[in-house]
């Protein structure tokens, strides 16, 4: 059988290439050369890597590495890029350092620039709890309803964002609904039914429930549950609620109490960002149901 040697190679007449010299029962394998174009790019890649070794950080040298002629550093690059982002925002962001909220709210050119950025901040930081449209959810207050637990003016909202509620911050806002587990179950049921009837506006103000409410609940929730005392205790006469205003949920609330929390954002957001968010949040009741029908809180 043909054990072809290099000096007398067999050339395939169709392609003009050598064969490998092996014969598998009449079938021979072409020894097609590596494509020239691929070889060219391979060599170019080698050439580039040599250039890159010289220009960029490359070789480890024990405890350090070769720095490269360009002196680039990925971390410094990123920080420089971030400072550039900050500088781009600075023109309007700096106005949120110790802001005059009344003047800022009237500056429509500023709002046009700042509010989309605020919406993004809201989505990244606040929406997880308060909802992407600020609509809230079970256990997390709505921010678009116009009912505020601590006050809805921008300065007050900024304070709430800064210190949080029942948070780890030493200056945290503190709000605790105590447990009423000492109260007789029947009384709890009575007052729960009264509170559940409050949103309808047809609650019987002469009932036993109303009396129990006035004695035990009104100091925080306001006379007749009208709220607005800005102590973290919600209004009970409107349609909105945090945990639920049905009798069953109320009985749980009465039995266990509620200590809702909001984290402090002082370490995560800059004072300017907090003030920007505060202005955005304080405007949500008007803007969330805007005339154009689009939600201001939605991501553009």
């Amino acid at each position: 059988m043909a054990q072809t040697h290099e000096d007398h190679r067999e050339v395939d007449p169709v392609t003009g290439h050598d064969t490998t010299g092996h014969d598998w029962g009449g079938i021979k394998e072409l020894n097609t050369p590596f494509p020239k174009i691929a070889l060219v790019f391979l060599l170019l890649a080698f050439a580039y890597s040599v250039v890159a070794w010289i220009l960029l950080p490359a070789w480890p040298t024990g405890r350090s590495h070769t720095r490269g002629l360009l002196g680039l550093d990925q971390g410094q690059e990123a920080l420089a890029g971030y400072r550039e982002l900050e500088a781009g925002r600075k023109a309007w962001m700096s106005r949120f350092d110790k802001p005059d909220f009344a003047a800022l709210s009237a500056d429509h050119a500023l709002l046009a620039e700042a509010m989309p950025a605020a919406a993004r901040l809201f989505q990244d930081n606040c929406a997880a709890c308060h909802g992407s449209n600020a609509q809230g959810g079970p256990g997390f207050p709505a921010l678009n309803s116009g009912h505020w637990l601590w006050g809805g003016d921008p300065a007050t909202v900024a304070e709430t964002i800064t210190v949080g509620i029942n948070s780890a911050d030493p200056n945290t806002r503190v709000s605790q609904m105590p447990s009423f587990d000492w109260m007789a179950i029947a009384d709890r049921q009575t007052v729960a039914e009264y509170v559940a009837s409050l949103p309808s506006g047809k609650a019987d103000q002469s009932s036993a429930g109303a009396k129990l409410f006035a004695d035990n609940c009104a100091s925080c929730h306001g006379e007749g549950g009208k709220g607005g005392l800005q102590t973290g205790a919600p209004t009970l006469t409107d349609q909105s609620f945090i945990y639920g205003q049905d009798v069953e949920t109320e009985l749980t609330t009465l039995a266990k109490g509620r200590q809702g929390q909001m984290p402090t954002w002082a370490a995560r957001l800059s004072p300017e960002e907090i003030n920007l968010l505060a202005l955005y949040v304080s405007r949500l009741p008007e803007t969330a149901a805007g005339a154009d029908g689009r939600s201001a809180a939605a991501v553009p």
Binding site: P33, A78, L79, A128
Partner: protein
Amino acid sequence: MPLRLHYNLEKVSMGLVGAIIVAASIGGIVEIAPLFTIDETVAIPADLRPLTPLELAGREIYMREGCYACHSQMIRSLADEIDRYGPYSLAGESAYDHPMLWGSKRTGPDLARVGGKYTDVWQVDHLTEPRSVVPASIMPRYPWLTAPLDTSNLSAELATLAKLGVPYDADKIAHAEADALAQSRPDSDGAADVQKRYGAGVAVRAFDGDPAELTEMDALVAYLQSLGTQTAAAKALMAGAGP
């Protein structure tokens, strides 16, 4: 002509074996050589604290449930990442992680600095039923995390990590189980000891809202709330001190 050289090499089997060994060794050395000096090149921040036993148990659950498959724990050194997540991750920040959980793909957001961002209640709600707080979420539910936490292996685990250089001393190892329980019971006698052993910055709370029972939820939430809070090194970086 390099191709001619290769052609001839292929015909000498031991020569080819030798050439393969040389080529593979170059690739291997390039990957391995930096590890020879890793103790000097990765600066461990002076204020880096190891995870508490409860957080460590939470980390085990994090791995068991495959959280790392969708969530990275590494903020890349890119301007937009810094803008969204905060300072980029430093190698030293995960010096005590064995194995590290940097991850290579994000389906959900990065978690490297998620500690303290949300409340415990939110974390519990979100793990139990993600859609209840984030309607558009595609994260699976983890309702079984209400199971009691098995703490029996914690001492041995701390001892193992101590062998790998994580600063768990004999005191921490001996009290691992007690510390895990105490960290979820702020009113218990051992609660102060946890902060004495691991630092005043350690959160001691009933993470799942119920101090009566130590659950896997307690551990996982404690772990999530610790992410990014173990050292202030990255903050110093942003303040301009440099890495």
